[in-house]
Every structure is written in C-alpha cells, then in structure tokens.
C-alpha cells in the first residue's frame, strides 16, 4: 500500500484494519509512506501496531528530510530511497494499492 496524505486527513483506522486483514489472509503486506504520509511514521503507536501484525513499514527518506522529521520517524520504520522504492513495488510485491487521492 502506498500512502501520500497526512494521517490527520486520512482514515488511519481503515488503513490499519485493511493491512492487518490482508496480512491475516496470507498476503505479504508492506505500507510505504511518501509525501505528507510520512507524518504517520512519527506516530509510534500506529507503527507498532503495523509491525506487530507483521506488516512491513517503509518511508521515503527524502520526504522525511524535506519536512525536518527524519529524527522523529519510529525506529520500526525502514527508510528507503527512490531506487529501493521501485524495487519494492516492481520486484517484491505482486499487487500495489495506491491509496493516494
């Protein structure tokens, strides 16, 4: 799942539930946060819940740097660059849910 909106403008509860249910059905789920969605990766409770459900949590490092939030990102989050983003989407997962508008 790719998220781009601020968690304050998004229904985080739905995203958490969707990710958890997909994971429980046997899918390998990863949530990538880009643009304003990186704000969510500073919320430890949200990140812990995803990781506890075996969902991988990623954030685009440059978007964290742009907003001055790199140091506030939860240690549970894997920071990636653009090359790793492409690899994550094109090689490591069969399906992409772009939850960005």
């Amino acid at each position: 799942m790719v998220l781009s909106k601020s968690p304050w403008a998004e229904n985080l509860g739905f995203i958490l539930e969707a990710a958890e249910k997909l994971q429980a059905k046997g899918e390998k789920v990863a949530v990538l946060h880009i643009q304003d969605a990186i704000i969510a990766t500073t919320m430890s409770e949200y990140c812990n819940r995803l990781v506890d459900s075996n969902v991988e949590v990623y954030a685009l490092k440059t978007d964290c740097e742009a907003r001055g939030l790199l140091e506030k990102v939860s240690p549970k989050v894997k920071l990636i660059d653009h090359k790793q983003w492409v690899k994550l989407m094109m090689a490591e997962h069969d399906k992409i849910i772009s939850w960005t508008s």
């Binding site: 909106k5 601020s6 304050w8 704000i39 440059t62 740097e65 742009a66 907003r67 001055g68």
Partner: protein
Amino acid sequence: MISKVLFVIKSPPYGNSKAGEGFRMATAMIAMDVLPQILFVEDGVYCLVKNQKAESVGLTSFAERLRTLADLVGLQALSDSLFQRKLKLSDLDENYNVKTLAIDEAAELIAQNETVITF
C-alpha cells in the same frame, strides 16, 4: 480598505503548494503596507519544524520567507495542534520565535480580524 488580515495556515509543508502560497500572499500584503497576522493550526504547524531540507525533494525551501515573516509580523501557533502532534517548541525553528496560543486566544485573534484567509 481592509487592513486587519489573519492568515490561518492549516496545510502541511511541501505535499502541496497551499502553505507556500499563503506565505507568498502574506509577503505581498506587507509590500502593500498591510501587516497581516499569521496563525498555524492543525497540520500547518509542521511548516514550523526546524531542519527542513526541501531541496532533497526538488523544492525550494520557504524557511527564508518564514524567517522574514517572523521578523516583520511574528508567527503564532495553536498549542493544541502542537500538543496533538507531539511537537515541542524545541522541535520548531528557533529563528521563527513562535508564540503559542491557547484555543481561547486563537478564537480572540480570529474575532479581532476583518478578514481571515486559510491555506
């Protein structure tokens, strides 16, 4: 002519151009001898976080413009919005000298102005 203007910035930085456009408009007003007030609420408070590197995503930082606005008209932020986002004053750029307002003070600020423009 309207002379009491309040800008309410509620959009986070860099995901879209809203906040940046608000700062541009505020700067233009100052050039026309109208001194607006600026209040950051909701996700707008993220505009005030220090050590932003907008150039890392190919955008121009508005930190310098914010510093100028801080010097000329001052910057204010709703304390509840900072608290909800777990942002402390030490997380904000010290050059902005941000003044925090309680919700009652923010309401009073809105009531005092003839025009309120949100971005």
